[in-house]
Each structure stands twice: as C-alpha cells, then as structure tokens.
C-alpha cells in the first residue's frame, strides 16, 4: 500500500489519469439509456433486453427468432385476443433461445405460448459448439450475446474453453466506454449542442426505431431500412438456393429448447416462414422440416405451423433473406389473418 501511495505521489499525472478514468466510467453507469447513442445493432439488443428486464407487461404469446422473423407483426392484445410480443433478435446462433426464455421467465409470468420462428439455417452450423469461434464472425456479432445476458446468466450457458473465451470477452466489456464504444464515438463525433438536443444521428435513428417497435410489439422489418426497395434479383436468389442444396443439420439446440419448454410446461409453435421461390424444397430445408415435424410428433406440447404460401418471388425480399417492404405486407397479412388465429386457438385452453 505504501509503495502504491508513494508511487502516485511521485507520479501525480498517472494518479489523476486513473482518477478521471474511474470517475468517468462510474459516471457512464449512471447515464440512463446510454445505449440509445450506440450503434443500431447494439441498441436493438439492449432495447429488447430492457423489454425483458424492465417492462411490466406479461405477454400471452412470445415469439423468438432472428432478423427474418423480426418482420412478424406483434399484437397488443385485448380481452378477446392474446397479446403477442416479437422478441426476435438479429441472429446469434441457435443455442441462446433456451436461455433467453429462461431470462424472460425470471422477470415475467409464463407465456401461454412460445413461438420458435428462427430460420432453419441456424440449425445448419453443425456441431461447432455454442460459440462460433471464427474471429471475424465473432467480432461482427459478439455484441448480440454479450449485451443480451449478464455475466452471471452467461456463466451457466457455457463450459470449458467456451466459458473461458466468453469470460475474456466480458472482461473487455467491463469498462463502459468499451462496452458502449460506438456511443462514445458518436459523442466524440457529434457537436455537443446537437447532442444535448438529441440530434445525434445514431440517437435519432435509434429513437425512431424504438418508437416503431413500441407500436408493433417488437416488430421491425429490416428490409425497410437496409435494402433496395425493388427487392432481390433472380441471380441473388439462385445463390441462396445453391447454399441450401447441402449442409449438415444439428437439431440439438432445438431439442434442448423444446425439452426446456416441456419442463416449464409451456406450449410451443414451430413456425416456418416463407422463403424465396426455389429454396423451400431444397435438401437442406427438407431436412430441417423433417426435424420440425418429428419433434412436433415427439413432444405433445409442440405444434408445427407453416404459411399457406411458402414461396415468395425474389422481389418480396431485400437480398433473398429479409423481406422487402412489399414482401413484409404479404407476410403479415397472412400472419395476422391465418397464423395468429391458429396460435390463439392453441392458447385457448391454457390457464395462466
């Protein structure tokens, strides 16, 4: 201790630097909704985490999925219609859904129905472990897992090498200035008066998204934001069709999720969403569909549902995956008119 204090007496600039860093990092903890200044990807995960941790409403139907199922409209609910919240998040692998549901259940009453609406492709990573340790992929997507769960919640999800790896990643996030790097960058890049008025580009965009998602109970169509309105080309569609011609399927994440739902006595719908023409009957998609069907037979609480029209033209997609504004309209028309009523039917005999 003496060595420590003597050192800082001799090097006061380092002492002041450390003091400033400490005060600044603590200060950041107290800034409400700091994530509104962060990059939209990070913001969105934080936003949904906030819904889980702080929203009081208990939803009747909870829809879990990825960036494609984000397009499905939520339902506010009333005395006759159960509420549906779309808790889909941009893809972060197939394993986290069980823990996301577990997290939700820690804060809310049990929903009457859970919808697994993740894209079949997420079961195509094969047996690579829970974390895909490809550094480029991980750097791109790590915020989705790191920002969604606390370290304590993460601790039970991994073991061995993967636990060590993700623990290190959490360590790097322990400084708020690192965790909210994009927010810090936007603060550094913005003019302070503009920032105080909430005119930072990221802040405005995130606020707009939050307002939209509030209205739609979790829904947002990525195709409205990121892709050309005219939709995907035939060539692009062919590329995705080719990708679906082969590939291993690992049903384990789905099976574990269904086991968990069974233990919790929650009904589940496995929902298969429409895809670009030519994909739905590819070998890979057929393999996944047979897994969906066999599990809906195996588990009495599981029902498999698909859309009447499972194939949309490329113009209904942004880049053959996410729905274009036109595709989203078609999708939600059928979803609300035909799929949602089926879900309502399933929830009818469920008592909360």
């Amino acid at each position: 201790m003496h060595l420590f204090t003597s050192y800082f007496k001799k090097s006061p600039a380092f002492f002041y630097t450390l003091l400033f860093i400490f005060i600044f990092e603590v200060f950041l903890h107290f800034i409400p909704n700091l994530y509104y200044l962060d990059g939209t990807g990070s913001f969105f995960v934080y936003y949904k985490r906030n819904v889980i941790e702080n929203y009081k409403e208990n939803y009747d139907i909870l829809l879990l999925g990825d960036s494609r199922s984000l397009s499905l409209m939520g339902v506010k609910g009333d005395n006759n219609n159960p509420s549906l919240y779309n808790l889909s998040l941009p893809a972060a692998g197939p394993w986290y859904y069980k823990y996301l549901l577990k997290k939700y259940l820690n804060y809310h009453e049990k929903p009457k129905l859970i919808v697994w609406a993740a894209d079949p492709m997420i079961l195509g990573f094969g047996k690579t472990g829970k974390l895909n340790l490809n550094p480029n992929l991980w750097n791109e997507f790590k915020h989705r897992l790191l920002n969604l769960f606390t370290y304590a919640e993460t601790w039970e999800q991994y073991e061995g090498k993967e636990l060590f790896f993700i623990s290190k990643e959490y360590l790097s996030q322990s400084l708020y200035s690192v965790r909210f790097r994009q927010a810090m960058e936007s603060i550094l890049g913005a003019r302070v008066p503009a920032l105080l008025k909430g005119e930072s580009a990221l802040y405005s965009r995130n606020k707009e998204i939050a307002a939209l998602v509030e209205k739609t109970n979790g829904q947002i169509n990525l195709g409205d934001f990121f892709f050309a309105p005219e939709g995907a080309s035939e060539e692009e569609a062919k590329k995705w069709i080719k990708m679906n011609q082969s590939g291993d399927v690992d049903p384990e994440p789905l099976v574990q999720f269904l086991d968990y739902c069974k233990t919790e006595n929650i009904k589940v719908v496995i929902l298969n969403l429409p895809k670009v023409i030519g994909i739905i009957n590819t070998p890979f998609q057929n393999k996944v569909k047979s897994i969906y069907l066999s599990n809906s037979e195996k588990y009495s609480n599981v029902t498999y549902i698909e859309f009447e029209t499972m194939e949309y033209p490329p113009s209904d997609f942004g880049e053959s995956i996410h729905y274009s504004p036109k595709g989203e309209k078609v999708l939600n028309k059928e979803f609300l008119e035909k799929i949602y009523p089926q879900m309502v039917e399933i929830t009818k005999d469920v008592k909360k």
Binding site: S6, Y7, A13, T17, F20, K168, L171, V178, R181, E185
Partner: protein, 472 residues
C-alpha cells in the same frame, strides 16, 4: 499471444504479480516459464524450434569458450551455430519461396517440375530469435562476451517474451547481464514503462490499425489512381511505423516494469533529415545487427569505395530478404539500397543547416530534408506493401500516368489519426528525450494520458490485432 489481446491482459498482471513477490533466482525461472507459455500459446509445437536454437547456441558458445586457443575448433562451433540457425530460418521461412522461384526459373527454360511444398505456418518471430542467438555466439567468438554456463539464464535470453516475436533484437551484451544480475525496479522505471506501454498501444491500435482500414482497399485495387496510391504509400509509412514502433514501445515498457532495459528500436525516424539518419533511427536493433555482423564482416575502413558500396547494397538486399520470403521484399530492400547509395553521392551537393544562414532558411532546409527523406523512404514501400510485383508495377504506372485526384476526406481521416502521434513525436524530437513529456505541467500530462488511453480503447481498431512484423 499478442499484446493487444485479452489473453495478454490476463497473462501479464498474473506474471507480474508473481514476479514482484518471488526472489531473483525464481524470477528468471518464472520469466522463462512465462515466455514459453507466451510463445506456446500461439502454437506449442513451434516451441521445439526455440528450444533447438537455444540448445545449439548454448553448446556452441561453450564450445567456443572452451577452445579459445584452438582457432579451428572455435570456428567450427561458430559455424555450427550460424549454420543451424540459418538452416532453421531457411527451411521454415524460405523453403517454399526458393523452391517456387526455382520452379518458375526452370519453367522458363522449358523444364516442368512439381516440387514438394511445406504446408505449415511460419513460426512466429523466427527471424528475430535466430538473429538474436546468432549474435550471441558471434559475440562470444569475437571475445566480446563470456558465455553463460547456466542454461536456464541463457534460455531466458533467447525467449524473453516482451521482445521474442518482434524484437528489439537484443544483444547479449545488453540483455544477458540484466538477466544474470539482481534487478531493481525504480519509480522512474514504472513511470516510463507505463508511458511506453500506453504510447505503444496508441501507436498500434489507434494509429496503425485504423490506417489499415483506409489503405487496405487502395492497395487491393489495381485501378486505384496515382494520387490514391501516393496517399496510401504515405499512410502506409505511418501505419508500419505505428505498428512496429508500437510493439517495440510496449516491449520496452513491459520490460521497464520488470527492471529490464531493452534497447530503443525507433528514434523518431519519420523526422529524419536525411537517409543516413533515417536508417540509424529506424529498426535500430536490426539495422545495427546488419552493420555489426554482416557489413563489418564483409569489409572495413580500408576497403575500396566500390567494395563498400557493394557491401552496402548487399546489406539492404539482405534486409529485404529478412523481411519476407517474397520478391517484393527483396526488390524493396534493393531499391532502398540504391536510393541510399544515390543519396550518399548527392549529399555533398545538398544544402545543409549552417550557422551562416538565418533561422528561417535553416528551418526550411530542415523541414525540406524531413519531407524529402520521408518520400524517399515511402515510395519504395510500394513493393513492401503490394501483394505481388505485378501489382507494384500497376500502382507505379498509376502514379506516373493516371495521377487523378484524391478525396479530401481521406486526407482529413489520416490527419485525424496521426495528429496526436506527430505532436508527441515532434515534442520528443525537439527536446531530444522520449520522456520529455514528464517535464510538462501535470494537467497537460494528464490530458495527454487520457487522450492516449481513450483514443486507444474507444477509437482504436481491435479487430485487426496481429502485428505486421510477426510474420517477418
């Protein structure tokens, strides 16, 4: 393990804590184990090469010492060391290069061959530790140094982790006595060490890795205009400086925390007024290695001017080859040698700083010298950076025939990245002391440390964490 990784962030504090609480003899053992862990963390199989090099040089140095009076045997032991190290280096780094080059040469005279190529990664830092251990046996041979009989101390000299994979290439005369003797850690060491680490990370993560985002697409674009190529070359010089000097600073800073003084590897080379000065300030440990162990072995002061020039060119050629097993590096080294030689003959005709001139004129001459030197170093780096010789020539062609215009945004981006670096460097250069920062008022220093820290962790690029010189 790389310095700018979480792994290292965990590794070093644990090692340092243990280092501070154990006794000196155990400190060396701890550092040795830590160094092997540091190296083996990347790929433990390559530790065998490090051990092989260590054992051979240990035996060779003792063989030389025990045969002081037997010139022939002494020479044989030296040859054993040099031959073994060059064989390891040649096989792992240059085998594919020479084999493929031979294949192309044979093809050109109509002979088709299918040589066997090696399919494993280049062992990290192999060029650094083989050169370091060779210098040890050469120093023992020359009588500059008594070999150590303790193999653990010697093994630590070879594998000392802060400088193991990217230098500085230490001389045994500097590092070994510090390993053998009691080390004292002073407050001054800690202060300087922390500053060097902070500045090193800033150079690497903020300067070098952010520049790479800007220039990588330009160097990959065969249609880039001449002005873009020129911009990319200039930015690349800052990048490679930030990357390599950053690593050296971190290595020196970590060592200072442990009471070990590593040699300075960069002394504000970008502010050199002429080429001679540049090569004395750039990668000092390597350039002085080439001078002491190659150039001086090829000739001495009495050699003819022609011989000296040829030796000089050979040293630059070797420098290029050392940097990478690719003809682009060889050409870069050779061109740098030619430019250096040209400068040598032009120098007497160039205006120099003189007390007879007024301050403004001297200042203009000084700054002009810095700019011209910078350009003379920067342009040959096209070959250093390009993926292939063809690409280098395409980009030179753009420089000469399709200069075009440059996006002002790029210049402002580069300026933002290098501004703080250059302010600090210029201040250190003017004061002729890299720790002159410590003389500044407390609030300025605090502001500087905070700027370096937050620029690194907020604005730094952590996605590209390998140091460029790891592959050399």
């Amino acid at each position: 393990m790389v310095f700018n990784s979480i792994d290292f962030l965990l590794f070093f504090p644990i090692l340092y804590f243990l280092y501070c609480i154990v006794k000196k003899r155990s400190q060396n053992l701890l550092l040795l184990v830590g160094s092997y862990f540091f190296y083996g963390y990347w790929d433990y199989r390559y530790l065998s090469l490090l051990l092989l090099s260590t054992v051979i040089d240990y035996i060779a140095s003792l063989g030389i010492e025990n045969n002081r009076d037997n010139a022939h045997t002494k020479k044989l032991y030296l040859a054993l060391s040099i031959f073994s190290n060059l064989t390891i280096l040649g096989f792992f780094k240059y085998y594919n290069f020479f084999t493929l080059s031979a294949k192309v040469a044979l093809q050109s005279i109509g002979l088709n061959t299918s040589p066997i190529l090696l399919e494993f990664a280049l062992p990290l830092g192999i060029s650094f530790y083989t050169f370091q251990t060779m210098s040890y046996t050469i120093d023992v041979y020359r009588g500059h140094l008594k070999p150590t009989r303790n193999i653990l101390d010697f093994a630590l000299f070879v594998s000392y982790f802060p400088q193991l994979v990217a230098g500085p290439i230490e001389r045994a005369t500097n590092l070994l006595p510090q390993i053998l003797n009691e080390r004292v850690i002073t407050y001054e060491d800690i202060e300087k060490g922390i500053f060097l680490i902070l500045f090193g990370f800033f150079k690497k993560v903020y300067v070098a890795d952010n520049i790479s985002i800007i220039i990588d697409p330009i160097f990959a674009d065969s249609g880039a205009s001449g002005s873009m190529v020129l911009f990319a070359c200039i930015a690349h010089t800052f990048q490679i400086y930030g990357d390599f000097a950053g690593y050296s600073d971190i290595a020196r800073g970590l060592s200072k925390l442990m009471g070990i003084e590593l040699m300075r590897n960069f002394n504000h080379p970008l502010l050199s007024r002429n080429l001679g000065e540049f090569w004395r300030r750039w990668h000092i440990s390597f350039m002085s290695w080439l001078r002491d162990y190659v150039y001086f072995s090829l000739g001495d002061k009495t050699s003819s001017e022609l011989r000296k020039n040829i030796n000089n060119l050979f040293v630059f050629f070797l420098s290029g080859l050392w940097h990478g097993a690719n003809w682009t590096f060889v050409i870069w080294g050779s061109i740098s040698g030619i430019v250096n030689l040209t400068y040598k003959y032009l120098n007497p005709y160039l205006p120099g700083i003189s007390e007879d001139r007024n301050k403004v004129t001297n200042f203009i001459i000084h700054v002009s010298g810095i700019i011209l030197t910078f350009l003379a170093v920067t342009l040959p780096l096209i070959f250093f950076r390009s993926q292939s010789i063809e690409m280098s020539f395409t980009q030179i062609n753009s420089l000469l025939t399709n200069f075009g215009s440059l996006e002002p945004k790029l210049i402002s981006k580069l300026f933002k990245i290098v501004a703080l670096l250059m302010v600090v460097e210029i201040y250190q250069y003017i004061k002729e002391d890299e720790f002159s920062i410590f003389q500044l008022p407390i609030y300025v220093r605090t502001g500087l440390y905070l700027s370096l820290f937050y620029s690194t962790i907020i604005l730094g690029n952590f996605n590209q964490n390998a140091f460029i010189y790891f592959v050399f």
